[in-house]
Symmetry: C2
Subunit: 203 residues, 2 copies
Amino acid sequence: MNPKVTRIKPVLKKDKTREVLLDKAAQMFSRQGYQSTSLKEIAAAANMKAGSLYYHFASKEALMAEVLDRSIQFISDTVAEEIEKLNENYTFEDGLKAFINGHLTAILKHPDYTTTTIRNNGQIPKAVQLSAHTKREHYEQQWRRLMAQGREEDFIRPDLDEQLFRLMVLGSLNWSSVWYKPSGESIDSLVKHFTQVFLNGCR
Amino acid sequence: MNPKVTRIKPVLKKDKTREVLLDKAAQMFSRQGYQSTSLKEIAAAANMKAGSLYYHFASKEALMAEVLDRSIQFISDTVAEEIEKLNENYTFEDGLKAFINGHLTAILKHPDYTTTTIRNNGQIPKAVQLSAHTKREHYEQQWRRLMAQGREEDFIRPDLDEQLFRLMVLGSLNWSSVWYKPSGESIDSLVKHFTQVFLNGCR
DNA sequence: GATGTTTTCTAATCATTGTTAGATTCTAAC
DNA sequence: GTTAGAATCTAACAATGATTAGAAAACATC
């Protein structure tokens, strides 16, 4: 009834707690898994009651979907950053270094989000998977392109299927989220060892 | 009242359905995870009702514990078999080949049991983990010894931490349970590629 | 301070789950 | 065929889960 033009839009408190909820959810999903984490727990971690979550998210699945989405986005972004540091015509060797660096850094520096993607493989409703599926495909596609380049440059030994090699590298990297302890070796050092092993391994 | 000596003990039907239950449970645990699998589902897969499970197992946790136990046992046994094929003083190179062969074969040929161990990392009650913990430790110890041998033989490049290398290999192998499709490359072929990459990778 | 909006809580619903005790059926030996 | 034991089912229990509608509180604007 009152079409006054009061459009100042504070909209700040809301987004903030939304962010907190996502962070807490990511934390618990990554540690306990999707099914083992109750909305009550997530809400409690944000000093709220379970019912209040529904003001911010439509359902538990929607919440998980957004966590997964951010998870992949973050890994993808971190890798993209590393690639941008290279000059335009980077070699496969430099490319692989950058990919490993980005992927591993993302996983180990922000395990809350990223481990959610890795640990909950196949254990969440398919409708939820679907959301992040596109981004995941896109990210994998970048790895595939890198491997194709390795093939063209003849860096990868001819009798080694480059896509199988890709799966070996990714498996190795992803698994680090299982054993990594921040108290141990530095991430930079880990990156160096991973790249050395796999650069030697493929030729 | 009648202490007659009738001790024929048939005891056969029982163990059989127990076996079926374990198989079905392993199948569902490995695919959907521990929390997402209900006793009702497992029972249904064995043409039974949920309550009947308690004649065979004390609890859901006890059932999972036994699946986990068999899972690790099976991997460990398969590797041991491969090692026994070698002559007593096998080299690190042959040893690594045998380990990779055994581990990968176990995982990919009997994914129901083995994937349960891999997928449910951290998502099951600690009391359950405890049971299989000893066997898991023992198996890891064998890998550690192999790596120590690689170090002694100077097969592993000096600046590469051999335990980190172990984690790379195991991560790579375990992750195969995520992407492997029986329709693709043969397990033997996969074994060859894995060993080549990692033998080249560590020196 | 009154008012409208935003955010959170309360309390209840409905479905599901692991678990148990007792009744029931099945099986095999006599 | 009777009987004892083995194996399964039935029906309930208590706990917990996600979800929802409406009340209450917090907040900002006038």
